[in-house]
């Protein structure tokens, strides 16, 4: 959910900054950046209501390229920072941006538990199968046996499937895109942000400097007989990602089966688009409201805690009464 209150039609230019970008030429990050700027414009978001929260890595620098509250956090930790911001100020649109190494290596624990909370925010993973900023080590998404140019021998660790993981841990909107399909990715980002819950968008991208296997040409299918791009779109099939509001576990489990069938597809055909759109799970804000009735009206950042004389508004009488002896 977002609050779109800008007073004129915005364009991507409104979300650009007059500072130079230091990503490598041809980096997939540029496409994603472009898509994000277009998405913010299409949603009509006000700059001061957006927090772009990055991890550490090339992708983690994305916050610097928006004129919003950009937060460049710690390696693997963007999700806790982002959740803290959103929980304390629910009016903000919070978008996490980080790499696959950041998110599924060091950040794997936080990935899992963010899924349990279903806080209303968006997490975009810039997925290039390597640790770019540290010069090309294998990331958790690189398949067993593959050897990219920085590796002195083939990778001996198995790979994680981000979509599979997101489903298992409870993300309620799951999508995948490819960084060079700027229009499609913009659509996906808009949907992810509008989804009232925890959204995960896995964006495949080439790393022209360190991933010499899954390059732009590879994604374009240049080596295939068909010569067609490897990525195909689920919306062009009969795949239905929707789990409607009120659906029970049986529906969710049935959807999980469809999901599983697609999620392992790789190679000549790589599915992209919306894999899951689950409206049946309560959001964290709804759960908080069962404990703090006026959470939305008076979130943590807005509460009045002092009177005009700087004296606490909190009244501890009932707390003292519980402990009262005389």
């Amino acid at each position: 959910m977002t609050t779109a209150t800008a007073d004129r039609k915005l364009t991507a230019k409104d979300f650009q900054v007059p500072f130079p970008n230091d990503w490598c030429p041809g980096c997939g990050d540029f496409g994603i950046l472009n898509s994000l700027q277009q998405a913010f414009a299409r949603l009509g978001l006000e700059a001061h209501r957006i927090a772009v929260v990055g991890g550490i890595g090339c992708s983690g620098k994305a916050p610097y390229y928006f004129p919003v509250y950009g937060v460049h956090t710690l390696h693997g930790r963007l999700l806790p920072f982002a959740q803290g911001i959103k929980l304390a100020n629910p009016e903000m649109t919070v978008v996490g941006v980080g790499g696959d190494g950041d998110g599924l290596g060091i950040g794997a624990g936080h990935f899992v538990h963010a899924g349990r909370r279903n806080i209303d925010m968006t997490y975009i993973m810039f997925n290039n199968e390597v640790y770019g900023l540290t010069k090309g080590q294998a990331a958790p998404t690189l398949a067993l046996g593959l050897q990219t140019k920085s590796l002195s021998s083939p990778n001996i660790q198995g790979q994680l499937n981000p979509l599979m993981m997101a489903m298992t841990v409870g993300f309620t909107w799951i999508g995948r895109g490819y960084s060079y399909n700027v229009k499609k990715v913009t659509d996906l980002i808009v949907q992810a942000i509008e989804h009232p819950g925890m959204s995960f968008l896995d964006i495949l991208q080439p790393c022209p400097t360190y991933n010499n296997l899954h390059t732009k040409d590879w994604y374009a299918g240049k080596d295939l007989d068909s010569g067609q791009p490897r990525v195909y779109w689920l919306e062009d099939t009969d795949y239905d990602p929707l789990v409607p509001e009120g659906a029970d576990d049986a529906v969710l489990n049935a959807k999980a089966s469809d999901f599983m069938a697609r999620v392992h597809e790789w190679g000549a055909e790589i599915p992209a688009g919306v894999f899951l759109d689950n409206r049946s799970t309560t959001t964290f804000a709804e759960r908080i409201e069962t404990r703090i009735g006026n959470y939305r009206e008076q979130p943590p950042n807005k509460r009045s805690i002092a009177d005009e004389n700087g004296k606490p508004t909190a009244d501890l009488t009932t707390l003292f009464d519980e402990l009262r002896m005389t």
Binding site: Y69, L79, A88, P300, A306, A314
Partner: protein, 644 residues
Amino acid sequence: MNNKNNDLAWRVGGPQGSGVDTAAGIFQRACAVGGLSVLGRREYYSNIMGRHSYFDVRVSHRPVHVHRDRVQLLTTFESESLARHAVSVIEGGALFYAAKDTDVEVTEITYLDPRAKQDLIAYLEERGLPPTMAGVLEDARDRGVQTYEADYDQIVQLLADDLNVAHALAARTMNTLAVAMSLALVEYQRKYVYEALEKTWPGRQKIIDLNVAAVDLAYAFVRDTYDTSMFEYRLTPSDVKEPCILLNGNQAVAMGKIAAGMTFQSYYPISPATDESVYLEAHTTFPAGNGDEGSVLVVQTEDEISAVCMAAGAALTGARSATATSGPGFALMAEGLGWAGNNEVPLVITLYQRGGPSTGLPTRSEQGDLWFALNAGHGEFPRIVLASGDLDEAFYDAAEAFNYADRYQTVVVHILDKTLSSKTMTMPPYDLEKITIDRGEIATPDPDNKLFPRFAVTESGISPRPLLGTPGGMHWLTGGEHTPVGRVTEDPVVREAQMEKRMRKMETAAREIPIDEKLRIYGDPDAAFTILSWGSNKGGIREAMEQLAEEGIAARLVQVRLMSPFPTPELEELFASATPLVAVEANFSGQLAQVLRQHTGIACDHLVVKYNGRPMSGRELHEAFKSIHEGNAETKIVLRNPNE
């Protein structure tokens, strides 16, 4: 100190899960509702059921601040408590023991540590006594302790018969029976015990009635069974009853945070910090003046790294935010701490020290983390470290920590320990009039502004801070070195300016924070004999100094509270006339003594340390100070007690 009325130290022991805490709670409340001052000290194992736990309640006509390690009255239901604690009962004291335990051999006591077993057997052997509870009891009697045998089964059956209920039901009053037997022995008016029961089980009339019957039975039983004339200690309720609450350190800190307007706490469970967050969760909403409802959002995270990062994120939006943890958790927070310090985020971290290193002694106390609190996190960034010494400070410091965080825009480590967290005391309700809320310099940018210099270089080092979400306040935040608008930079000149600006805040803080917040002086302010200490040792030191004063020996305690920025000029001045200068610390190395030397060049003449995981008593401190005064003490004195 020789008055036998209203000066009692009582101890109850038993396996965890058997109601030791419940018993201690009833005893404390009974004394408190009678207008007496109560102090509780809880010792427990890192275990849920079965291992040994004990609770000391000290009762007095006036407030007391430290436990006694030698008690007047001990109540036991099983052999482990008898084996462990009989030796700590003083001459003229008394103990209750279970008849069935007499023949138990020391070697049969499952959870008594091998070392303790060996030592006890040797102790009994030296005295020509058998290695059994009978031997322990005879030793007690030889030392002038009254031993009162109780057949608890029989007593429970008497109650069952009286009430015409099953034995099993009557047996559920076991803890009450034990407490009441002790209070009967000291001839305490039983109506206060009834009141304690009502406070223990509010609204649960059936349980209260059952336990009231148990109290009556216990009082009659003691009167009819024992010669109580040989035990001279008594408790008499006070006519004067000031308003008073009974609480522990975790609760004191939690309430201080609520008073200060904290609205967000993220945490991961860890002893001895957990109970603070659990208390906050149980009080997530509360009245907030004008009929409003105040609240604190408490989030249990997946680990401490998430806890510190989430709290930092929340703090960026302007919510007063904190986390609470202990050593192992704080270790995980080091990186997050650095990010917050680098980004000038107001963040409070409550650190309850426990025995270290590593997993250490999870449920025991120590002051081993001062160096860590001062230095955690790579690189150099400003931080405030504030150490509380008692439950009064714990509340007000917890609140003031947020003012420091907001004013100086940095991390504040509020450092306490397990002793304070589990210490219970009767106190007057805290006075919120003493608290003022200062949010520091919050920026109010022009809403049409596109970029705001969050880290503008200023003379004080403090820059106006736009809260996330504020129109016109946009800037970046980064763990990297940054320009005034927060963009990452490696420029040498900008780097120097930012480093100097951040560190300048510490100078500002050192100038502005009043001396009474930095340190406090107790005892004779003109005395040359100077004790340097911090944290929970305060209670024992003050009691020891009182005793020294009675013996004509003048001494003063300088309690350091603000560890960072360190009160260097103030201490240099104070210690110019100190001789001897005696550091008292619950750690191995004398961490504060070394920090003092680091900042001032002043070396302490003596170091009195304790690192067995248990708190210092007035008695052992007095002994150490006396020997120093008499000139026959080692430079480093280690306080040891194998029986606690």
